[in-house]
């Protein structure tokens, strides 16, 4: 501790640690809802693409291109500053969750789609020839296999989306980034503020990242490929 105290203002860090905890709460809340809705949107989009439902399929393609080729920060600026001009006034939290979902939905769709495509067509045929209805075959045979293939990509997307939440400080949400910026601006305790920022993201993301690696390895070794 004494060694640390030479470099860092430990008291300062202790004093402001609760602020970081609170800010981490904001980050986690936004990430949680954003990821949940991204999964739902992504699943629906992938289903539309898999069954090639006309019209909806084209709409999904347009959405995916728009979502994948624009930055989240710009999406947020449009939602937060632009939309109120046409009477749509959302709080910063709602904008952040909507923005994250708009971005994440296309990434999740891609993950689900590649999983579904990896299941050979004959799996569906052999299920159907055993008397399964198409819906039963999807639920019992196709989807479980597709999900196993999708999981690494889904995990990567979860980590990606949590990282992306750092952008919401741009629309004045008091997340981790925002607090760090504040402390630097007010107290000039740059080293401490930045160190706590890095630590906060490590604590948040390292366990998820390790979990994802373990999950992927388990799936690969238990892989049921031929």
């Amino acid at each position: 501790m004494e060694f640390l105290a030479q470099w860092l203002d430990v008291d300062f860090m202790a004093r402001f640690a609760p602020m970081y905890v609170k800010a981490a709460g904001v980050t986690i809340t936004i990430a949680f809802w954003g990821i949940l809705f991204s999964l739902i949107v992504g699943f629906l989009c992938a289903t539309v693409q898999y069954y090639r439902i006309p019209i909806l399929k084209q709409m999904v393609s347009v959405y995916i291109e728009l979502s994948r080729n624009t930055p989240l920060l710009v999406q947020l600026f449009f939602l937060y500053f632009g939309l109120p001009k046409v009477g749509i006034v959302w709080s910063a939290e709602v904008c952040a969750i909507v923005g994250l979902t708009f971005l994440g939905g296309s990434y999740m769709a891609e993950a689900f789609r590649s999983g579904l495509e990896s299941v050979e067509k004959i799996q569906m045929e052999s299920a159907i020839s055993l008397g399964f209805s198409p819906w039963q075959a999807m639920r019992e045979i196709i989807f479980p296999q597709a999900l196993a293939v999708s999981i690494p990509a889904l995990c990567a997307n979860v980590i990606f989306l949590i990282k992306e939440t750092s952008v919401v400080s741009g629309i004045a949400l008091a997340d981790l980034m925002y607090v760090a910026k504040d402390l630097i601006g007010i107290y000039y305790q740059t080293d401490e503020a930045l160190l706590m920022l890095v630590l906060a993201y490590l604590v948040l993301l390292l366990p998820i990242s390790i979990l994802a690696t373990l999950l992927e390895r388990r799936l690969r070794y238990a892989g049921f490929g031929h």
Partner: protein
């Protein structure tokens, strides 16, 4: 052999784009009969089986099972399919289920049979094909021949009236072909109605009650195996059979 007609195919036509793959196929299979379908590759044999099972919609003609029409996508399709078992070339077991689950999934989910009953029958059938020890293994742990025997059991467990075999030994190593063919021979001896597409000529001769020879989407010849293999009537059939015999070249 009983003389009731079980499956009737009448003037079946199937096109893919401009290409007519099946051009008015007609035949009937009696109960307990084994029909072997032969022909050069691309003659429409596999398509024929897929039409019978409703995986492909016919463009013309009718298929009747016990007098009831099979219409791909029709209302009765799920019920009809349970009467028809099909085994594919690529022994496509469900990779995420173990062997017992592979076999009992459809009886439980489709026929709503009890887990215990389905399981008992599955174990019995596995025992008959000599794979009872593998009941808890996963498909990837089995050899090709073992997988194919499981695929046959999986179809049998649905109590089908007719079994369709689509080149089930084509993807197997030669030493595994026998174990699969033996299972099929036993099935035939128990009176199962079967339609078999195969390239194993000796096996075809041994198992068939009747032979159907297809070429370019039409039935060229329909006869007994003895007649077909010893004295084929058409030139196409003679040429086809010749491709399976080899002579030592004279130097």
């Amino acid at each position: 052999m009983e003389e009731t007609v079980q499956l009737q195919v009448q003037g079946l036509i199937k096109r893919f784009g401009n290409e007519t793959v099946l051009n008015g196929i007609s035949f009937s299979v009696h109960k307990g009969e084994v029909m072997v379908v032969l022909g050069p590759s691309g003659c429409g044999k596999s398509t024929l089986l897929r039409c019978i099972n409703g995986l492909e919609a016919a463009d013309g003609g009718r298929i009747l099972l016990d007098g009831e029409p099979i219409i791909s996508g029709g209302k009765n399709m799920i019920r009809m399919r349970q009467k028809i078992g099909m085994v594919f070339q690529s022994y496509d077991l469900f990779p995420h289920k173990n062997i017992l689950e592979n076999i009992t999934l459809a009886p439980m989910k489709v026929q709503k049979r009890s887990k215990q009953e389905a399981r008992e029958e599955a174990e019995q059938l596995l025992n008959r094909v000599g794979l009872w020890e593998k009941r808890n293994a996963f498909p990837r742990q089995l050899s090709g021949g073992q997988k194919q025997r499981v695929a046959i059991v999986r179809a049998l467990c649905m109590h089908p009236e007719v079994m369709l075999f689509d080149e089930v030994t084509a993807a197997l190593d030669p030493e595994m072909v026998r174990e699969v063919l033996d299972v099929m021979l036993e099935l035939a001896s128990q009176g199962m109605t079967m339609i078999i597409v195969t390239h194993e000529m000796q096996f075809a001769r041994a198992i068939a009650d009747r032979v159907l020879f297809l070429d370019r989407g039409t039935v060229m010849e329909e006869s007994t195996p003895e007649k077909f293999f010893s004295a084929p009537q058409t030139k196409r059939a003679q040429e086809f059979l010749n491709t399976f015999t080899f002579e030592k070249p004279n130097h």
